[in-house]
Amino acid sequence: MTDLPGLTIAAARTALRKGDFTATELADACLAAAEAAAPLNACSVLTADIARSQAAAAAGRIAAGDAPDLCGIPLGIKDLFCTKGVPSQAASNILAGFKPEYESTVTARLFEAGAVMIGKLNMDEFAMGSSSTTSAYGPVISPWRRAGPGDEATPDLQQMSSPPVIRAGVTDTFRQKSQWWPRSDVPLTPGGSSGGSAAAVAADLCLAAIGTDTGGSIRQPAAFTGITGLKPTYGRVSRLGIIAFASSLDQAGPMTKDVRDCAIMLKAMSGHDHGDATCANIPVPDFEAALTGDIRGTKIGIPGEYRLDGMPAEIEVLWQRGIDMLRDAGARIVDISLPHSRYALPAYYVIAPAEASSNLARYDGVRYGHRAALQPGEGIHDMYARTRAEGFGKEVQRRVMLGTYVLSAGFYDAYYNRARKVRTLIRQDFERAYAGGIDAILTPTTPSAAFGLGEIDDRDPVRMYLNDILTVPVNMAGLPAMSVPAGLNEQGLPLGLQLIGRPWEEAALLNIGYALERAAGFSAKPGKWWQKSAGDAKSGAG
């Protein structure tokens, strides 16, 4: 039997319409895969009953010949999206027990299109983090493991198909079609904040997932797990019903197994919504129809400022390979300058916490979620402060207080207003490049491959923030951008390349991503080591 959860949306769409299997069989296969993947901690809740009833309805639509692209397709939903009657907690204890009375616009659109929800996916608390470790549900573990000595007693093996391997100064490929490597059992992060979404797609627990991206939270985990992720133009996708972090930066997007699936998902998610005043009332193109792979004459900008001091050689090599691949596909490569890039990260860490401190003011123990117990003689102010101390994790508290500080009297101009002016300069950098005829910009997605859990000290938040240095400028400027898996490093971990597009031109962006995907030929999958506990040790295939 085909490995059903390993299918792309496009492949499953064809097979479902042909009747090769039913939507119910597909949903059951994904639910079984998700249940067997408990060690990854990617899912906060599995919604088997909803999945089965949605799958049965989808099967009916397919039989009746009324099958939109996503009809019968099992998806994972980041816990940040409100889903009616299903726990939606933003991975925070402060929303413990919260079951929304309404559906987010994005999930409502996906369900109308026939999609099947297998469950909610783990993430950093309130999407604040780059490693999916700040979650109230505990950290997400990446399905990927480094090459290296594993546990001697139970050798951990992983099958690799022939992906390009990125080495410092050398580009190599495997000679054989497949090869077994010993794997280290050091747990790695899938990235964050949409780490559960990335892990679930990479581990084949569902066909695709949705995430959100405030400073790189779709693209960085996509790069860390060898999948494709797209952050749309700000305003392409409605934010109604997405638990807010930083409203001027947040945008939902697809996380998928390939670029075509990204195009299919984006079309279903996009479109005007009266419930979100920033959601644009412009037509949604057929993104999938734009995937010709022909990028001859396209101008690709390479920003010198993204060549960071101390960037690992493997990232430099990856970037150069991406440049070569696009040039070989007929694109023109142009050096460009985005001179204010270095200010993007510090400006982001003023603006995002400032907006978060305002958005998260609503969690006070009155309307939903957790409320702290009071001692005799204590009043409502004690209730607010203790509820928030008990309910928010450390990183969320840190950012709320930071945001409160930069908005407070005497510091508003020095920090918040200055950051908003710097934001204008960052956007103008991109506008100048695009006015000069650049169609898209190519950079690495992340400054490194995935790191091990605990390898970045929690007491050094700035080091963790540096993960987002290549992705944050995109959110500051409101642009669309995607991460495409482009190779493995010497330790066998995926690396991604980022393509940044012109505003509202996701179709052209996806087509360039499609050309890059075809040239890179990335097909590696993690070995399913987590299934060992289920007595299925040898399933390393992918």
């Binding site: 005007h272 644009a280 003023v350 006070d364 950051a419 002016k421 710097v422 300069l425 409101g478």
Partner: protein, 95 residues
């Protein structure tokens, strides 16, 4: 500018987050570290630059001026830790 313990106490109060006295010094150090990172912004030349207020500028959306929802007090109260007689219930505010 480094944040001292008193400033940390004030920020925690403004943010309505209870922080134990013993934890204020560590909090002040953490916030100072992050603010130190932000000091780079002081180097940017922002003379004459307008603050960015709209990410993807667009006009206001119009829709018919009609009531589109409401009358759902029970649903709104359903997630509350304490709700009584159609209201959110909180500890006594006025003596």
């Amino acid at each position: 500018m480094p944040i001292d313990k008193e400033t940390a106490r004030r920020v925690a109060h403004l943010a309505r987050i209870e922080v134990a006295d013993a934890d204020l010094a560590a909090l002040a150090a953490e916030l100072s570290g992050i603010l130190g990172f932000m000091e780079q912004l002081a180097e940017a030349d922002i003379d004459g630059v307008e603050p960015m207020t709209s990410v993807t500028p667009q006009g206001p959306h119009h829709r018919p001026d009609v009531v589109t929802d409401g009358d759902m007090a029970d649903r709104i109260l359903s997630g509350a830790p304490d709700a009584r007689e159609g209201f959110f219930a909180v500890p006594k505010v006025v003596e």
